[in-house]
C-alpha cells in the first residue's frame, strides 16, 4: 500500500456540478509525485475543470482535494495565493499578458513574488527561455509569436518560480507536428530535470500515452479506469477500449441523444 506522501495531489470523493449537470460524481484521483500523469477523456468530460479544482479556481460541492496534504478548497484567500506559488499551469491559450514583452512575461512571477536583484532576474529569465528554446525571442511582444511559441513562453513563465506541480491544459491542441514534438519533449525534459510532478490533461492519445507514466481515463463524471499506458491499451473495459482505440461508435454513442429519426423526419413532412 503506497504512502499518502507518495501522492502530491489526492482527490477524495470529489463531487462537482454546474447547475443541473454533474461533472464529477464521487471521484477519487491520486497523482503520484515526480511522475507525469495523463488525464484523458472525451471533449467536454471535465478535464480542464479538474485542473481548475486542483488550483482552487473552482470549489467542489463535496469531497477533499489535498495538495501536499493541504485541503486546497478550505484555505483562506491569502493562504491559497501562497499555495499557488508552488503550482504552475500552462493554459490552452497560453494566456500571456499582452501588454508585456516575452522577457517581462517570464520575469513577472519573479518580480511580484521575490525581491531578487535585477541582474539575477535577468539570468533566471534567460535560463528559462533557453530551456524552451526562445531566448532569442525575449524582446518580442506576444502578438508577434506563433501559437506554439506562445505556449512555450507561457511554459517558461509557469516554471519561473520552480513549482513542484506543473499542470498542462490541452498542451497539444492546434499544434503543428514540429511544435507538438517540441512540447512533448519539453514536458518530459522539464519533469525529469527539475524534479517536477506533471499533470497533462489531453485528448491527444498518442502524444499523452508516449510521455505519461500513469494515465487516468475519465468520462460520464467517473474515473473509467487508471493504470500504466500499456495496461489501459489492453483493457477489457469496452469504454476504455473505445477511447484508447479511437472507435467512433460504441458505449459512447456517435449520436447525441435524440427522438426517433423516422418520427422526426415524418413530423416535418406532416407540418408541411
Amino acid at each position: 500500500m503506497p504512502e499518502s506522501s507518495d501522492f502530491i495531489v489526492d482527490l477524495q470523493q470529489v463531487t462537482f456540478s454546474r447547475g443541473e449537470r454533474i461533472i464529477f460524481n464521487n471521484v477519487d484521483i491520486r497523482i503520484p509525485r515526480g511522475k507525469i500523469t495523463g488525464i484523458m477523456g472525451p471533449s467536454g468530460c471535465g478535464k480542464t475543470t479538474l485542473l481548475r479544482l486542483i488550483g482552487a479556481q473552482l470549489r467542489p460541492d463535496s469531497g477533499a482535494i489535498l495538495v501536499n496534504g493541504e485541503d486546497i478548497p478550505r484555505l483562506g484567500r491569502e493562504e491559497l495565493f501562497a499555495a499557488r506559488q508552488h503550482m504552475g499551469m500552462l493554459f490552452q491559450s497560453g494566456a500571456l499578458f499582452t501588454d508585456l514583452n516575452v522577457f517581462e512575461n517570464v520575469a513577472f512571477p519573479l518580480r511580484v513574488h521575490t525581491k531578487l536583484p535585477e541582474d539575477m532576474i535577468r539570468d533566471i529569465v534567460l535560463l528559462k527561455l533557453q530551456a524552451v528554446g526562445l531566448r532569442g525571442a525575449n524582446q518580442l511582444m506576444p502578438d508577434e509569436l506563433s501559437g506554439g511559441m506562445k505556449r512555450r513562453v507561457a511554459l517558461a513563465r509557469a516554471i519561473a518560480l520552480d513549482p513542484e506541480l506543473m499542470m498542462y491544459d490541452e498542451p497539444f491542441v492546434g499544434q503543428d507536428p514540429i511544435s507538438m514534438g517540441v512540447l512533448v519533449r519539453l514536458i518530459r525534459l522539464l519533469n525529469d530535470a527539475l524534479g517536477l510532478t506533471s499533470i497533462v490533461v489531453s485528448h491527444d492519445l498518442a502524444e499523452t500515452a508516449s510521455i505519461a507514466d500513469y494515465l487516468y481515463v475519465v468520462g460520464d463524471g467517473q474515473v473509467l479506469g487508471h493504470g500504466k499506458p500499456d495496461e489501459l491499451m489492453n483493457s477489457d473495459n469496452p469504454r476504455i477500449r473505445q477511447f484508447m482505440q479511437g472507435e467512433p461508435d460504441g458505449p459512447v454513442p456517435f449520436h447525441f441523444p435524440a427522438t426517433d429519426y423516422v418520427d422526426d423526419l415524418l413530423q416535418k413532412e406532416r407540418k408541411r
Binding site: R52, G55, Q57, R77, F81, A82, A83, R84, Q85, M87, G88, M89, F91, Q92, S93, A95, L96, F97, T98, F108, P109, R111, V112, H113, K115, A154, R157, A158, L161
Partner: protein, 260 residues
C-alpha cells in the same frame, strides 16, 4: 393559472439574480479595496491607470466643457436680457456648471469614454485567461488588476469634473463677454458674490466623488463578472454605459434633493 405562476416565478428569479449580483459586486468591491497591495509596485500600477483613465479622458472633457459653457451663456443671455438681467449670466453659468452639469455631464462622458474601456479591457483579460493565469501565478487579480483601476477612477473623475467646470466658465465668458458684450466686471464679480465654496463648489465635488465611485465600480465589476465570450464582453460594455448613466441621473436627483 400555471402561466401566471410561471410569470411570478420568473419575476422572482430575476429579483433573486439582481440581489445576488448586488451582493457579488459588494464583496468584489470590499475584497479589491480592503488591505494593501502586496505586489510592491502598487503606485506605478496606479499611475499607469491614472494616465489611461484620467489623462486620456482630458480631451473629451475639455472640448465638451467649453461647448456646454458657451451654450449656457448663449441661452442664459437670451432669457435674462428680456428681464434686463443679462449681467447675471456669469452667476448662472457658474452655478449651473458647479451644481449640476459639471459632475453629471463629466460622469456621463466618463462612463462612455473610460468606463466602457475598463469593462472591455477586463472582460478581454478574462476571456483570454489572463485573469486565471494571474491567479495561478499566485497574484490576486482583485488587488493587481481591479484595485488600481478603481482608485484611478475615484481620483481622476472628480478632478475631471473640476476641469470641466473651469473650462465651461471660461467658455461662457468667451460668449457672454467677448461676443455678446456683457461687461466683464459684472460677469466675474456677480459670479464671485453668488457662488459659495461650501454650498456650491463642495457639494458639486461631493456629487462628482459619488458618481466616480458608482461609475468605476459598475465598469470594473461588469468586466470582471462578464461571460468570457465576445458576445458577453459586448453585452457587459453596453450594460456599463446604460447602468452607469441611469445610476448617475437617479443619484443626481437624490443628492440634489438632499443638498440644495
Amino acid at each position: 393559472m400555471s402561466s401566471l405562476v410561471d410569470r411570478v416565478a420568473s419575476l422572482g428569479r430575476v429579483g433573486l439574480d439582481v440581489v445576488a449580483a448586488i451582493g457579488r459586486s459588494g464583496i468584489f468591491l470590499f475584497q479589491a479595496l480592503a488591505g494593501r497591495s502586496r505586489y510592491g509596485n502598487g503606485f506605478s500600477l496606479l499611475l499607469k491607470q491614472l494616465y489611461a483613465v484620467g489623462v486620456l479622458s482630458l480631451a473629451i472633457i475639455i472640448v465638451s466643457g467649453i461647448f456646454i459653457g458657451m451654450v449656457l451663456a448663449l441661452q442664459g443671455y437670451n432669457i435674462l436680457k428680456d428681464y434686463g438681467s443679462e449681467q447675471a449670466v456669469g452667476q448662472m453659468v457658474a452655478l449651473t456648471l458647479l451644481r449640476e452639469l459639471g459632475p453629471v455631464v463629466t460622469a456621463l462622458l466618463f462612463a462612455g469614454r473610460a468606463g466602457s474601456a475598463l469593462t472591455a479591457e477586463i472582460g478581454l483579460m478574462k476571456a483570454t485567461e489572463q485573469l486565471s493565469s494571474l491567479e495561478m501565478i499566485g497574484v490576486d487579480p482583485l488587488k493587481y488588476v481591479i484595485a488600481p483601476r478603481l482608485w484611478a477612477g475615484f481620483i481622476s473623475m472628480p478632478l475631471l469634473s473640476l476641469i470641466f467646470c473651469v473650462v465651461g466658465i471660461w467658455g461662457g465668458a468667451m460668449v457672454a463677454v467677448d461676443w455678446l458684450g456683457v461687461y466683464s466686471g459684472s460677469y466675474w464679480s456677480n459670479m464671485q458674490n453668488s457662488v459659495l465654496f461650501g454650498a456650491d463648489v463642495l457639494n458639486g465635488l461631493i456629487k462628482a466623488v459619488v458618481f466616480a465611485v458608482v461609475v468605476t465600480w459598475i465598469a470594473v465589476f461588469q468586466g470582471y463578472d462578464c461571460e468570457p465570450t465576445s458576445e458577453g464582453i459586448s453585452r457587459a460594455t453596453t450594460r456599463t454605459v446604460v447602468y452607469a448613466s441611469l445610476a448617475i441621473l437617479g443619484l443626481d436627483f437624490i443628492l440634489t434633493a438632499l443638498m440644495f
